[in-house]
Assembly symmetry: C7
Homo-oligomer: 80 residues x 7
């Protein structure tokens, strides 16, 4: 019943996720890709800081900045 | 009688744990998965900062942000 | 349908991208090159901080400073 | 007469140690386990910050947060 | 037409470049050498902080401090 | 006549050294052990911050926190 | 005519160099040794912060703290 972190990330591909980054930015978007460094591709992304919200479109997030990723709980996902 | 850190983490899978992160956030949730970088999957997670408490659901925490994990002491756990 | 982060970066080569760096600088420019550390080459780059905007020309960005890269959404790109 | 750092840590297993962490937290507890990253398992742990003292129970500390570990001087320890 | 970051650095050897470092220092000088960590050798270097400008002469910069390097745009460079 | 950093550390084993750490703490003690990460074992150690001086006894310092180590200049040392 | 960073460091062995560290300390001394992490051995070293200047004697500097090293420009050096 154990779920490897990278496996969960692959399971939520094509679903909408939220990210908290080290500089306190929050990003949300549809997860298009992930690799073993937790580098992520988000589509239709939005950024929220304590000051602004803005639409970004497609972004590549460097994994070293990620604190945690919030995935939809009931995520069925698709096997990769 | 020595207990390897990764072994203990596997022993408490499916139990509720608390995390202190480098940015002082505290997360708690049911531990669903872990890997050798201390990346963690939590289910039914809650976040507590000095300012807010909020329910997150399922999260993947990047291990590099973890200061320590607080596991239930009497944890019997299940062998993986 | 999954898109690897490095693959997306290669797909947007020769297109204009924006970068957010760890020290909050923002750079934009035409992406000329990228490697596995997310080191980037930008041409015709501009830098924007909270205080100044200045033209830089050609820059090499060390990947460890990158928070995220914002790529054009409809990017067709060229295969490398 | 030289003593390797990891060897000393193994020698003080099952003894009470104190830790100073990078965020200035101090933890103390009985050392149950250690690995080559200086990840540590403490039992019956207490946390002391400049503001609070609280009992934690069993914790796994990520080694990258450790500044130093204070071991009992006369520690006889048990060979592992 | 893609240009690898390390390749560009080798192409501008013996030309004058500017560096922005993580602590906001700016260095400029003639690029004499570079390696795969982005460690750099500059000759006839100048340092500019928000407070002072001073001549340094020959310096070795540890690559981990580099945010970005600004190379002359029309740089023809010499193959190494 | 060149002296490798790790070699010097081995040569001053069993002598008293001072350490400056990244968080500005200063530790001094008799150097009992060292490894390739500059993890150190000190015996009879003292800690000095801008605020307090306290006796620590035996400590294991994680090498990643070390800024520099000050060794006795005329150190004859013992070959290891 | 390119000069590898590590090669330059070896060429200035036994000469007096200055270091700027990440915590803004400045050290100067005669360079006795260097390794591939830019760990350095200085002899007859002095430390200069914004507040104090003090004589240190022989020091081992952990390379991860080095921002840059300032070498004598006309350094002839000795091959190692």
């Amino acid at each position: 019943m154990a779920e490897a972190p990278t496996h969960l990330l692959e399971r939520v591909l094509s679903q909408r996720v939220s990210l908290v980054l080290k500089d306190s930015r929050q990003l949300s978007g549809k997860l298009l890709g992930v690799d073993e460094h937790m580098n992520l591709v988000l589509d239709d992304a939005d950024e929220k800081t304590s000051e602004v919200t803005r639409h970004l479109g497609r972004v590549v997030v460097r994994g070293s900045n990620v604190v945690f990723l919030n995935a939809p709980q009931g995520a069925a996902g698709k096997p990769t």
